[in-house]
C-alpha cells in the first residue's frame, strides 16, 4: 500500500484513498482516485483527471520545483523518463536525502523529458525488468522490424498491442521519428489518452479511429489497441492482422508465444537490467531499496557489488503490460 513518509504523515503512490498523496505518474498501480489531496506534475494530474475525474485537491508541482510537507520534509519532483508527466520524488528531511524513482527508464522518449540522476542517501528503485536477461534493444531497430513487417504484407494490417498510457503514444511518436507519415489507426480505448497527449503538446500526427471502418480500409495500415484486445473478438474486424505487441516482456519467446504474438516488439518504458544497475552505480546511494518487480536478482547484484540493499514488499503493484 504505497510508501509512507512518516514525519510528514503522507503517502507516495498509495493503493488506497488517503488524505495526502504524492503520485509519481499516471499508471493505474501508482495513481488511484479518491485522495483528499493529490500532489503530482500537471501532466499526471491531467491524466488522473481523465481517468478518475478527481479534481478536488489537485496540487500541481513542476519538474524541479520543491514543495514543503508537514514535519519539516520537502519534496522535489524530477523527470523519470517513464511516461508523460512521470516524476521521481526527492525527499529531504534533517539532512537526509531519499529518492523514490517510481517507474523510470533511461532511453530517449519523444513523449517525455529524460530521467535525471539525483545524488541521494537512500535510492528507492523499481525493478520491473530486474533480471539480467532483460535487455531492451535500441527502439530504432524495433521500428525497422515493424515497418519491414508492414511492407512485407500489403494485404494485412499490423495490429500493435500497447498500453493505453505511455506506450501507445511513444510507439506512435517513434513511428513519426522513423518517417512514417501515414494515418495511424486506433482502438476506441486509446483515443482519449492520445488526444490528451496532443493537448499537452506531444504531436502524434494524423490519428484515425478504427470503429466503423471497412476491413479493406485497414489493409497495409498500422493500428494500435490495448493488449487485451489483441486476441479478442474485436480483432476479427481487421484484415488478417499481424499481431504485434510492444512490451519489454517480448524479449522472452515463451511470453510472446503465450500471447499469440506474431511480431514481438521489445519496447519498454521501464529500465532494463543494464539501466537499473548503471543507475544505481551512477546515483551511488548509501542504501538501495527495491520496490515492485523482480527484487531478488537486483538484491543479489547489490550483494555482489558490496552495496547495501533491501527489498520493500509493496502490495498492490502489478506487472504492467509493459
Amino acid at each position: 500500500m504505497g510508501i509512507r513518509i512518516l514525519p510528514a504523515n503522507c503517502w507516495i503512490d498509495p493503493a488506497r484513498p488517503v488524505d495526502k498523496a504524492l503520485v509519481t505518474h499516471g499508471h493505474a498501480d501508482h495513481a488511484r482516485g479518491g485522495h483528499g489531496q493529490t500532489i503530482a506534475t500537471p501532466q499526471t494530474l491531467a491524466i488522473m483527471q481523465l481517468r478518475y475525474q478527481t479534481e478536488a485537491g489537485a496540487t500541481p508541482v513542476a519538474y524541479g520545483e520543491t514543495i514543503r510537507l508537514p514535519g519539516g520534509v520537502t519534496a522535489t519532483y524530477q523527470p523519470a523518463g517513464h511516461v508523460l508527466g512521470s516524476a521521481q520524488i526527492l525527499l529531504e528531511h534533517a539532512g537526509e536525502r531519499v529518492v523514490i524513482t517510481g517507474d523510470y527508464k533511461r532511453r530517449s522518449d519523444p513523449t517525455c523529458p529524460p530521467f535525471v540522476p539525483i545524488p541521494c542517501d537512500i535510492f528507492i528503485t523499481e525493478a520491473t525488468f530486474g533480471l539480467p536477461i532483460f535487455h531492451h534493444p535500441p527502439i530504432a531497430e524495433e521500428m525497422t522490424k515493424l515497418l519491414a513487417a508492414r511492407a512485407a504484407s500489403p494485404d494485412r494490417c499490423v495490429l500493435i498491442g500497447a498500453y493505453a498510457l505511455g506506450k501507445a503514444q511513444r510507439v506512435i511518436a517513434e513511428l513519426r521519428l522513423a518517417g512514417y507519415a501515414e494515418p495511424i489507426y486506433l482502438h476506441g480505448a486509446l483515443e482519449k489518452m492520445c488526444r490528451l497527449y496532443e493537448e499537452l503538446g506531444v504531436g502524434l500526427g494524423e490519428l484515425r479511429p478504427i470503429a466503423g471502418l471497412p476491413k479493406a480500409a485497414l489493409q497495409g495500415q498500422i493500428a494500435l489497441c490495448p493488449p487485451s484486445a489483441l486476441n479478442d473478438r474485436w480483432s476479427r474486424r481487421l484484415p488478417d492482422p499481424i499481431t504485434a505487441m510492444a512490451s519489454g516482456w517480448m524479449r522472452v519467446r515463451q511470453r510472446a508465444r503465450q500471447k499469440n504474438v506474431e511480431l514481438p516488439l521489445i519496447i519498454s518504458d521501464h529500465a532494463d537490467w543494464g539501466e537499473l544497475t548503471r543507475t544505481i552505480t551512477e546515483v551511488n546511494p548509501a542504501e538501495t531499496w527495491i520496490t515492485h518487480g523482480r527484487e531478488d536478482a537486483l538484491l543479489r547484484w547489490c550483494e555482489l557489488n558490496q552495496r547495501k540493499a533491501r527489498a520493500l514488499a509493496l502490495i498492490g503493484y502489478e506487472d504492467e503490460d509493459d
Partner: protein, 531 residues
C-alpha cells in the same frame, strides 16, 4: 548463421502453416549449399552432437554469470538454451565474424566431451542473442519450434517445384547436407539412386466412399482392418518397418523384421493375433490390444508372447528389384498371392478379397461388420496403379456407420492459428449416474472438428456467455449444451477417469434443443465396448 537464426525466430512466431512454408521455402531457395542442407537437417532432427548436453550449456554459463542470477533467470524463462542465449555476456574486444551454419556443424562435430565446451563458447561469442538461441537449439537437437519433418520436406518441394513424394522417397537414402537432393531439385541433376536402400515409399491412401456406389466389376472389396498401416522393406539383408508417416518402427516389433527375407517393399496392416476383429476367422485382436505394443522402447519376451504381432498384406510395391507400382491392382494382387507361400505364415497373411455378387450384397455384408467388430470395407479399383496419396476414383474406404451418443459440453479451449480467437476445442462428458439424483458428469472425450464456420461462431458465442471458470486458455462452461458425438468405437481404458476411451470422436450435431440432463449416461457408452 544470422539468416538461419532469423528463420528460426520467424518460424517461432508465425502461426499459419502456409506462412511457415513460405518462410522455409524462401530460405532454402536463397541460401547456398551446404548451409541450407545443414539447416534442413536441423529442422528434421537429422543432426546429433552427443558431446553437447543441456548440462554443458549450464556449466558454461556458470563460469561467466553468477549462479544465483542464472538460476533466477532460468526459473523465469523456463528454458536453459533460451536463458543462455539471453544471458551470454558480449566478449571483450573485437570478435571474429559470425560463423555460417556449416562452420557451426563442422566445429561441433569436431569436438569431443572435453573440447566441446570451449568450441561452443567460441561460437557463442561470435553471435547475437538470436544467433545464440538458434545455435544452442541446433547443438542440443531440441528445436521444438512446431515444424514437423513433413512440413520441412513440403517446403523443400514448394521451393523447387518438385513433388513432395519424390522428396520423401529420395530423402531416406541421403545424409545431411543432402547435396544430391539439392542438385536434383535445384539444378536439374539426375535423382539420387534409391534401389539399393531400404527406403520408405509414400503410401497410397483412400477417399471416404460417402454416398457413392461402385460397380464390383471394376472394384474389388477387402475388409478394413483396424491396426496400424505399415510398409515393410527388405533390401540386401536388412528389413525396415515404416509407419504411415514414414517413421521407422522396426525396433518396436522385433519379431517381424527377421521374418521377411525376400527383397521387397510390401504394404499391409500390422495387427496382434486374437479373435476380436472378425472372430476366429478374422484372427486379429482389437486396436486396444495392439496399443499395448506401441511406443515402447524395449519389448519383453512376455509382451511378444501375449500380443504376438503379424502383418496382413494389402499390396506389393517392389519385389526382387522390380517396381510393380505402375501395374494394375489385379496384377499386383497376383504377384502378392504368388509371394505368400514364400513368407513366414506366423508373421504374414493376406487380406482376403470379399466375395460379393453386387453392391447390394456387399452392403449387406458391410452391415454385419459391426457384429464382427470390423471397421468397414475397402474398395480398390482393379486397374488402379499404386500411386502416392489420395487419388480420386482409385481406392475408397467405406467405414461402417458411426456410433452416436449425446454428451454435455464441459470445457472449451481456444484453437490455434486462424482459429486462435475462437473456442474450438471441446471436452464433453456423460452422466456418471442419474443427473436428477445428483450424479455428476465425467469427461469422455475431446473433439475439435466436425462443424461449419457458422456453427463455430455460434459455439464461440455460447461458450463466452456460459463460462463459469477460466483456467488460462480453457473455459469451463455451465454444462448446458448437448452435443451429438459420433465415434468409430469405444474401448475400456484405465488411463481415463471415465474408464472408457473413444476412437475418432467428432461432433455430429449441436443439440441446442436438448436439455443437458437428457444426455446419455456413462453406462450407455460402456455398453458399446467390444474389447
Amino acid at each position: 548463421m544470422e539468416r538461419f537464426a532469423a528463420l528460426i525466430d520467424a518460424l517461432v512466431y508465425t502461426p499459419s502453416r502456409n506462412a511457415k512454408l513460405a518462410l522455409l521455402a524462401a530460405y532454402l531457395q536463397s541460401t547456398p549449399d551446404p548451409d541450407r542442407g545443414w539447416a534442413l537437417a536441423a529442422l528434421t532432427d537429422g543432426l546429433d552432437f552427443p558431446a553437447i548436453k543441456a548440462s554443458t550449456i549450464r556449466k558454461l554459463l556458470m563460469d561467466r554469470v553468477d549462479p544465483v542470477l542464472f538460476q533466477l533467470s532460468r526459473d523465469y524463462v523456463g528454458d536453459t538454451a533460451e536463458t543462455a542465449s539471453l544471458l551470454w555476456p558480449d566478449p571483450p574486444g573485437v570478435t571474429a565474424p559470425p560463423p555460417t551454419v556449416s562452420n557451426v556443424v563442422a566445429d561441433l562435430s569436431g569436438g569431443n566431451r572435453a573440447t566441446a565446451p570451449r568450441v561452443l563458447a567460441d561460437l557463442l561469442d561470435r553471435l547475437d542473442s538470436s544467433g545464440r538461441y538458434a545455435l544452442l537449439k541446433l547443438a542440443t537437437g531440441a528445436m521444438r519450434i512446431g515444424i514437423s519433418s513433413r512440413l520441412a520436406k513440403t517446403a523443400f518441394a514448394q521451393a523447387f517445384g518438385v513433388s513432395v513424394d519424390d522428396v520423401e522417397e529420395y530423402w531416406h537414402g541421403l545424409t545431411p547436407p543432402y547435396l544430391p537432393l539439392f542438385d536434383w531439385a535445384a539444378r536439374g541433376a539426375a535423382p539420387p539412386r534409391t534401389d539399393d536402400l531400404p527406403l520408405f515409399r509414400p503410401f497410397m491412401l483412400a477417399h471416404p466412399l460417402e454416398d457413392l456406389q461402385v460397380d464390383l466389376a471394376d472394384y474389388a472389396a477387402e475388409w478394413k482392418w483396424d491396426g496400424i498401416r505399415v510398409q515393410l522393406v527388405h533390401v540386401s539383408g536388412e528389413t525396415r518397418i515404416y509407419s504411415r508417416s514414414g517413421d521407422d518402427i522396426t525396433a518396436t516389433f522385433p519379431e517381424l523384421a527377421p521374418a521377411l527375407t525376400v527383397p521387397a517393399a510390401l504394404d499391409g496392416e500390422l495387427l496382434v493375433r486374437g479373435t476380436h476383429q472378425g472372430g476366429e476367422q478374422g484372427g486379429a485382436a482389437s486396436f486396444n490390444a495392439l496399443q499395448q505394443r506401441l511406443g515402447r522402447k524395449t519389448v519383453s519376451k512376455a509382451m511378444m508372447a501375449d500380443f504376438p504381432a503379424f502383418v496382413r498384406l494389402y499390396d506389393v510395391l517392389v519385389l526382387e528389384g522390380e517396381d510393380h507400382r505402375p501395374r494394375a491392382w489385379t496384377d499386383r494382387r497376383q504377384v502378392l498371392e504368388a509371394l505368400l507361400p514364400r513368407l513366414d505364415p506366423e508373421r504374414f497373411d493376406i487380406s482376403a478379397v470379399i466375395e460379393a455378387r453386387d453392391f447390394a450384397e456387399l452392403t449387406a455384408i458391410r452391415d454385419r461388420a459391426r457384429d464382427d467388430a470390423i471397421e468397414g470395407v475397402m474398395l480398390k479399383r482393379r486397374d488402379s496403379p499404386y500411386v502416392t496419396g489420395r487419388k480420386t476414383g482409385f481406392w475408397y474406404k467405406w467405414k461402417r456407420d458411426p456410433l452416436l451418443i449425446d454428451c454435455v459440453l464441459m470445457y472449451a479451449q481456444r484453437g490455434s492459428g486462424k482459429r486462435s480467437s475462437f473456442y474450438s476445442d471441446f471436452t464433453f462428458g456423460c452422466w456418471a449416474g442419474d443427473p436428477d439424483s445428483g450424479a455428476d458428469l465425467l469427461p469422455v472425450g475431446k473433439a475439435y472438428f466436425g462443424f461449419t464456420d457458422e456453427e463455430l461462431k455460434w459455439l464461440d458465442r455460447h461458450i463466452r456467455q456460459h463460462t463459469v471458470n477460466r483456467f488460462g486458455p480453457v473455459r469451463e462452461t455451465d454444462r448446458s449444451l448437448v452435443f451429438e458425438v459420433a465415434f468409430d468405437s469405444v474401448h475400456a481404458s484405465k488411463r481415463h477417469k471415465s474408464g472408457v476411451a473413444m476412437r475418432f470422436p467428432r461432433i455430429n450435431r449441436i443439440r441446442a434443443d436438448k436439455p443437458a440432463h437428457e444426455a446419455d449416461r456413462l453406462e450407455s457408452l460402456r455398453a458399446l465396448i467390444r474389447d
